[in-house]
């Protein structure tokens, strides 16, 4: 069964350092999402791509976070510089359809996440 792959699974870094996370969605999935999940809370959308274009990055802290999906396949999320408050699980998800699909018809499949600890 196809899965969303993420790496690394765990990352420990010091504040002010740069970190990068990688996501490989399920083959053929047009839409890719990056979420941040703080311990004990639900996931919060950071950025949504449709193919190589950003659809929604309204919750992405653009002064330090950046995301790209250059060829419309895999994606990288970068934080520079990392801050203590960035410690969280970073989840990637993908879905088959493009934006505007029928309500509830497009399932998001999540990867295992990258747990980031900033010291």
């Amino acid at each position: 069964e196809a899965e969303v792959a993420q790496s690394p699974r765990y990352k420990i870094t010091e504040k002010s350092q740069a970190v990068a996370f990688w996501c490989d969605p399920i083959s053929g999935h047009a839409t890719l999402y990056w979420y941040r999940q703080i311990l004990g809370q639900g996931p919060e959308l950071l950025v949504q791509f449709q193919d190589e274009s950003v659809v929604d990055d309204s919750q992405l802290p653009k002064d330090r976070f950046s995301a790209e999906r250059l060829k419309g396949v895999d994606s990288t999320l970068k934080i520079q510089p990392a801050e203590l408050g960035d410690s969280a699980m970073y989840l990637c998800a993908s879905s088959l359809a493009r934006s505007g699909g029928a309500a509830g018809k497009d399932t998001q499949y999540f990867g295992p996440g990258t747990r980031l600890t900033v010291l």
Binding site: L91, A103, G104, T107, R115
Partner: protein
């Protein structure tokens, strides 16, 4: 901003007991999804409901979408230790596939 509130935040029960988790909002959602997440893993979709008043059953799990599509519940009958996890509800908007997640309910089923 659409918000989803889940209650309770934490639930600890004995194996064989029943439990209900609630998901409430003041906003209308076009769909409501329930996920279960285990420690160190990503959420896994359990069910999607799209029609007001809809009830879906998956073995011992029963999901209900409120008539006004603002709230939902998840009921587990005869809970087992394997049901332990973080249960998340997520509301879908009219378009764009964007999901708004609730804060989650952590369920612990003790043998």
């Amino acid at each position: 901003t659409q918000l989803l509130e889940q209650s309770p935040q934490f639930l600890s029960i004995q194996e064989g007991e029943n439990l209900t988790v609630y998901c409430n909002s003041s906003s209308v959602f076009s769909s409501l999804q329930w996920y279960r997440q285990e420690p160190g893993e990503g959420p896994v979709l359990l069910v999607t409901v799209v029609t007001g008043g809809e009830v879906k059953k998956l073995k011992r799990l029963t999901f209900q979408f409120g008539d006004a599509r603002k709230d939902s519940s998840l009921h587990i009958t005869a809970a087992q230790p394997g049901d332990t996890g973080l249960y998340l509800c997520a509301g879908g908007g009219a378009a764009g596939n964007k999901l708004t997640f609730g804060g989650g309910t952590r369920v612990l089923v003790k043998p």
